[in-house]
């Protein structure tokens, strides 16, 4: 975990970079997650004070959105699309294979901290599904063999 001095100083810089913006909370939370890989709880009161909100309000916003993490993810994040178009091409089967191969369910991280598995509802790759995104890289037409290749390629 990060020490709170470092968090305070980086969060302060991020807040300063967003001065004058209309409705800055989401961009701030995105910037903090980009910096730390998650949104440290220590950051919430600092944001709250800066934006003249209560800590509960900031927590309420952060926890509303699927993107923001309270804890760091694994070294790699594999997101598989669960939406209709991908389902029509076998996404459920592919997801079951990934869960079995990793030994985890949705939103879980492997015990060695290597891979986090998450569902995503649509990457806009609906004409080349099933779709996935691995550490930000888009992949279309994913099948069981592709999952094995992706997981085998992760360091």
């Amino acid at each position: 975990m990060l020490d709170s001095v470092e968090v305070t100083s980086r969060v302060g810089e991020i807040l300063n970079a967003h001065k004058g913006m209309e409705g800055p909370l989401l961009p701030i939370l995105h910037a903090i997650q980009a910096e730390f890989g998650y949104v440290p709880q220590d950051a919430l009161p600092i944001i709250a004070q800066d934006l003249n909100l209560s800590r509960a309000e900031v927590h309420g916003v952060m926890s509303f959105y699927h993107d923001f993490r309270e804890n760091p993810a694994g070294n790699h994040v594999l997101k598989l699309c669960r939406a209709e178009s991908c389902k029509s091409m076998g996404a459920d089967r592919v997801a079951a294979h990934a869960q079995k191969a990793l030994g985890i369910e949705w939103h879980e991280t492997t015990k060695d901290g290597k891979v986090t598995l998450e569902p995503v509802f649509c990457l806009g790759l609906c004409a080349c599904g099933p779709a996935a995104i691995v550490d930000g890289k888009l992949v279309g037409r994913v099948d069981e063999a592709r999952i094995d290749a992706i997981l085998g390629g992760l360091k």
Binding site: F64, D67, G124, A127
Partner: protein, 508 residues
């Protein structure tokens, strides 16, 4: 040698970046100078990654490319194993009416000079010579209706904002395209971002707004990057800023990124999110047109609605209105997805039947099995069986069959689809994504999953209960998430009753 290769997400997901790197490597080895333009996609996703080589006869297409096909691009092109012929002569391209997507796949998305050379900024220049009322009338006369799904006349929305008195007004572009089977917004932003910027600038002039936001979902990393760069170029070149094109009032655009909440595609929820709040739906009235972003008059339009505005101003409202049928005027970018042989984007006037789209344009299923159902309009749209394939593609026509066209996405399913499972998924999705404000959606979706599980266990008495629950959600929910989830559920139950009887049959 000039080669075009898409930067479009679908092309990239199928290996376009690796192909691009290989093209550069081979060009260096051969000592050939290659001008590689990363363009938008032509929309033929089954042919991606599809490269085009500029020749004296026109652009020649090659695809779907694998790394082993790259060296032959530097040899005899006619003998290339993946040669498809002239892009413009491909049947998929020839039969379309591309108005909104005219430049997508054609130009370099981030070249303002290329954009202007293909008719860009003509509409905005014309708008600068008109007064606000005339600009609003142009949009109203075009018959353009909200392409996000609701189909509300765009001109009427603009008129309300234009006539509202306020010290600040806003143009908000809803690019939170979360519906499965839809990717038109993404393709437009990745392939022709200046069109959206121009459409928003015209909206700003017509409504007296000086600030615009594009709220893009975080699941679209390529679109976010391209739009941010396009806005930066538009600012540097004076399209946006203190004076639009150096001749008009101020108008500027900021790109904002969503955070994975489907409900933020609903306009009032989007506004709350943009303000930095939880994406909770607001009760209407007040309409966002009067009290929107920061309680100021705000136009909230979908990407395709705004991106259709430049061509309306370039070619005139009458030209646009002449396409279509009934009260559905102009063209619609169909997004053909799921289990299809030929999937992608196909812009055409309203009026084709569902059967023509699925059997002729899409060419049936990718699996080769019979088509069982087509979900039209995303996760909140109805499942259509083959018996309704004569329905013409239009807002009222689909509403008349207890469906909706939504954002014009179509997901095709073959006969292996389990419609009870799809109905359950619709309820599960609603439960996951509900903002929690209204009870029919928050509680109803959870009860819906339970009720469908009872039906799956062979409990016939749960069917009228499901119907009743759907009625409550439909009439009692605040927004389309809870209000429209009954469409996929009830259409599955109505049109595919056999799928809801399996356990009972097994027991007998």
């Amino acid at each position: 040698m000039k080669i075009y290769l898409p930067l479009d997400s679908a092309a990239v997901a199928l290996g376009a970046d690796e192909i691009a790197a290989a093209i550069h490597t081979h060009a260096r080895a051969k000592g050939v100078t290659v001008d590689l333009v990363r363009n938008g996609s032509r929309g033929m996703v089954w042919l991606e990654p599809m490269a085009e080589v500029e020749t004296a006869a026109g652009r020649v297409a090659f695809g779907p490319l694998t790394l082993s096909d790259v060296p032959a691009l530097f040899g005899d092109l006619a003998a290339h194993p993946k040669a498809l012929g002239l892009t413009d002569d491909l049947p998929w391209m020839k039969a379309q009416t591309r108005l909104t997507f005219a430049r997508v796949g054609v130009i370099d998305p981030l070249s303002l000079a290329d954009y202007k050379a293909h008719g860009g900024l003509t509409g905005l220049t014309r708008a600068l010579g008109m007064d606000k009322a005339a600009m609003v009338a142009e949009v109203t006369n075009s018959g353009l209706r909200g392409r996000g799904g609701a189909g509300f006349p765009t001109g009427i929305k603009w008129k309300t904002v234009s006539e509202a008195q306020a010290d600040r007004k806003y143009i908000v572009c809803n690019a939170d395209e979360g519906d499965s089977a839809t990717f038109a917004d993404r393709m437009l932003m990745e392939g022709d971002p200046f069109t959206l910027i121009e459409g928003m600038a015209i909206a700003g002039l017509a409504c007296g707004a000086t600030k615009g936001f594009v709220y893009i979902r975080s699941e679209y990393p390529v679109a976010i990057t391209v739009m941010q760069e396009a806005v930066r170029i538009a600012q540097a070149e004076g399209v946006l800023g203190a004076s639009v094109l150096g001749a008009g009032p101020a108008f500027d655009i900021e790109i904002r990124v969503g955070a994975g909440a489907y409900v933020c595609g609903e306009e009032t929820s989007l506004l709350n999110s943009l303000e930095g709040k939880r994406g909770i739906v607001r009760a209407k009235p007040p309409l966002p047109a009067l009290e929107g972003f920061m309680a100021k008059p705000t136009v909230v339009n979908n990407v395709i609605s705004l991106a259709s505005v430049p061509v309306i101003f370039e070619k005139g409202a009458e030209h646009y209105k002449n396409f279509g049928l009934g009260r559905s005027r102009g063209t619609i970018p169909l997004q053909i997805a799921g289990n299809v042989k030929h999937g992608g984007l196909y812009e055409i006037a309203f009026g084709l039947t569902l059967g023509e789209i699925v059997d002729k344009i899409a060419g049936g299923t990718a699996s080769g099995r019979p088509v069982k159902a087509v979900q039209v309009g995303g996760p909140l749209g109805a499942y259509f069986p083959r018996s309704l394939f004569d329905t013409p593609f239009g807002y009222e026509e689909f509403a008349g069959k207890d469906g909706l066209i939504g954002h014009a996405g179509l997901t095709v399913f073959d006969d292996s689809a389990d419609m009870l499972g799809m109905a359950r998924f619709a309820m599960e999705f609603c439960a996951i994504e509900s903002c929690g404000k209204c009870t029919p959606c928050r509680i109803g979706a959870v009860r819906g999953v339970e009720t469908l599980d009872r039906i799956a266990r062979g409990d016939d008495a749960a069917k009228p209960l499901l119907t009743d629950l759907c009625n409550t959600m439909k009439s009692g929910s605040l927004c389309a998430l809870g209000g429209f989830t009954p469409y996929p559920v009830m259409s599955a139950l109505t049109h595919f009753p056999d799928d809801f009887n399996t356990m009972k049959e097994a027991a007998e």
